[in-house]
Symmetry: C2
Subunit: 480 residues, 2 copies
């Protein structure tokens, strides 16, 4: 075959459909057996079944581990486990690394200790470090025993860093060279390798104590005269390196900003201890933004869409509980004004508008501020300026939208004062939303907290209770 | 200097602070002049001013364009433009490419046509294509005239694709080799280059008509015996390539899934027309998730945090208008039951809880479904199964949380029927939220729409109006 295969995103969809068709046939046979329209040991059943399984196995053998992971994620539980059992045992490890956390759990549950041990032993130490937290203690112990001294040290190192540290993302595959050798010697040295570590765009130049001296890019190696030495052509200045305890989010921003493929990780003394590569960084970026989106909706973690009802309830309950408390508080605020509502029932009808628009506007402000804080671009000094701007926006919106609603309220209830109260309450609640939208993230930064966490709940709680209080309070003072 | 500089994420913060300090001194002098405590042409003023500017210029000259972009984004408008004018003219182009859209606009507004022309002419055609939409027509025309025929063709090609197509992300820098030459010859050929295109991890192997035959990775080039031919060591099968009209989001997923650094872009006949690299893909992923987060909060686009009040009002108004309409509809639903509320004011107090929890729960469901749809992992066939699961979750939550609230309502108002209505209404509204949370994205997929767009508004509108209707309706039927 001379035409290279076109394998892109559509292809994995194609594979998914193929798997689904084979599974559908499998189900059909199972169903017939189950309904006893076909005896279990019928020759035909066995034949169809076998053929089906063979075709599935063949398909799976041809697929990239990432594609198998994708397909497993897309299948409901029973079918997922059926397919998982058809995957060759020696590929289990690389696939476990690729699937999302929620799915990984379901696959590991279905494996026995021996299988898990075999899967774990097929992995590199940095991959193993990702898997260990999900494995049973006994399996971890066994795997650990099977490692050599260096590997054990690597595994311990990788596991000693929090999930959002560079140390947890780095790997230990690296090629180092010395400054004083010729490029010719490096070229000869490389020809002894079976393969280079993934994403090698540069070799690390070190001294005898592993201190990083510079980078020899493959480009420099290829474009320069082989007679020259590494020291002459390597990059010395502006080499971007990280330390294992550096924040992974900041490292990801640096990868993005400086378009890096790989970067050395060094210890406090400047000795090379590992390597960070763009694939792990991309995964990290994707997971982070994924987690952020899910957190905004109050999902504790990425959910297996085919999870059991009970697992889903657990993933979502804490958020609902918080929401229930805030809704209850808002309701008690309304309770304070029941007498007013009895005298003017229009208040009950109009109050959710004031609260709702306030929540919406506050969420716009806080989202924008939190985003800008996340990149480190706004500092507490900018606070007064931002507050002034947001209050300006709130005033304009309050007068425009509040004015419009005031007119509507007047038109509906023929009560001009009610219209004025509506406009005033809207404006005040938008001003409250704007102040809180700027103040909450700023305060949290001063306190050293993550400004994003739960910001949306907090602002909504405030604008709900605040909106009800402002509107009903004003109405009680001015109308009754 | 033998120690390589450690330049990571903290460094850009450091630079930002330096710039801010210099700007603060600049402001101080300006202030003194303004308050006429120091004559404008005072020697001292001039000296301090000059020194300051010189230091700023020096600092800027040393910085990476991405770092300057970062600093510009972090500065309020006046100071941003002051710094922008201190940046060397020949660097304007590369910096304009790096800044976010909102900031780019403000910088371009401050430049005259000659400056813009010069900046544009310093760019590659694929970068130019990104900039063109923001440039005045006359400048575009002039720049276009200055390009040679190939460049014009590239620019036209890059601009002819929508923003979310591979064609809009690809670049035209590529190195191709023939199948029948020896690696030795390739090595000699490469030594004639000044530099390789950024992110070259493989050379494209083509025939005389530019048809893609395979990839020669730098790894294969380096590790194999130079006597062998390209054809012997190149990758033929499973080469992942894209077409210019392919969806960029799917290409990004493929880059992530297969850990790619670069990939060829081919036309319908398999001829190489460009190259996609991981840096552009990472930027695309970041921008996409950024846009998604902002859209969830109803921000039309990334907002310059220091934008004018008026620009912010425009960025946010459409969402507020939609929200106003949905809030007004919900309010009219309440209006239908004003007579009931007059007879039992507790209904007004309790109704926001039913609506709020419903909205919350619906948002959880829809976020999860939309996420899974975005990766193509759930297909319309999974619909009944997902609906069943979500209805199960809703029933459990309704009985638990609704039951709890029923007890609270009973305790507060001493009315057991009111408690039962509360529990029933909560459960029904959660079931409504679950059905809509699954149905809305599924319907939108069938209609070929983006399932994410405005999903949160729709579900909230439904659970608000629905929640009020269910609760007040049940109460009217059963209690009054």
């Amino acid at each position: 075959m001379t035409e290279p295969a076109r394998a892109a995103a559509d292809d994995v969809q194609q594979h998914l459909r193929e798997v689904q068709e084979l599974l559908a046939r499998h189900r059909l046979v199972e169903d017939l057996v189950h309904r006893q329209e076909m005896p279990r040991h019928d020759l035909v059943e066995n034949l169809v079944h076998k053929q089906n399984e063979t075709r599935l196995r063949e398909l799976l053998d041809r697929l990239h581990p990432a594609d198998i992971a994708y397909i497993l994620e897309a299948l409901p539980r029973e079918e997922r486990l059926y397919v998982w059992n058809l995957v060759k045992a020696e590929r289990d490890g690389e696939i476990l690394i690729e699937v999302s956390d929620a799915i990984r759990e379901s696959l590991i549950e279905a494996m026995d200790p021996a299988e898990l041990r075999a899967a774990a032993q097929s992995l590199d130490t940095d991959e193993l470090a990702d898997l260990v937290p999900d494995l049973p203690a006994q399996v971890v112990e066994d795997v650990f025993q099977s490692l050599d001294v260096t590997e054990r040290e690597h595994l311990r190192a990788a596991m000693s860093y929090p999930q959002d540290a560079v140390g947890a993302l780095m790997n230990f595959d690296l090629v180092t060279v010395r400054e004083d050798v010729s490029l010719e010697a490096v070229l000869r040295y490389l020809r002894r390798f079976e393969a280079l570590p993934d994403h090698t765009d540069a070799l690390f130049v070190v001294d005898r104590d592993s201190h990083l001296k510079g980078l020899l890019s493959l480009e420099a190696l290829l474009l320069n005269d082989p007679e020259r030495t590494v020291g002459e052509v390597m990059t010395r200045d502006g080499v971007i390196s990280f330390e294992p305890q550096d924040n992974a989010r900041e490292a990801a921003q640096a990868f993005e900003r400086y378009d890096l493929i790989s970067a050395p990780v060094v210890d406090g003394q400047g000795r090379v201890v590992g390597r960070l590569t763009v694939d792990d960084v991309v995964d990290f970026i994707r997971e982070e933004s994924e987690a952020e989106l899910l957190a905004q909706a109050g999902l504790r973690e990425g959910e297996d869409v085919f999870a059991s009802v009970w697992d889903s309830v657990r993933n979502r309950w804490s958020w609902l509980a918080v929401n229930l408390v805030t809704a209850f508080i808002a309701s008690r605020v309304i309770g304070l004004f029941e007498a007013s509502i009895e005298r003017l029932v229009a208040l009950a009808t109009l109050m959710p508008i004031v609260a709702g628009i306030g929540g919406n506007s506050g969420n716009q402000t806080i989202t924008m501020i939190v985003r800008a804080c996340a990149t480190g671009q706004i500092t507490p000094e900018a606070f007064p300026r931002l507050l002034k701007k947001e209050l300006g926006v709130a005033t304009i919106n309050g007068l425009i939208w509040g004015g419009l609603l005031g007119v509507l309220a007047y038109a509906l209830y023929g009560n001009p004062q009610l219209g004025l109260v509506m406009t005033a309450a809207m404006t005040l609640n938008l001003l409250l939303a704007a102040s809180a939208g700027v103040t909450i993230p700023m305060l949290r930064i001063r306190l050293g907290r993550d400004p994003a966490l739960g910001s949306s709940v907090m602002i909504t709680a405030l604008t709900d209770s605040g909106g009800f209080f402002i509107f009903l309070g004003l109405a009680t003072l001015l109308l009754l």
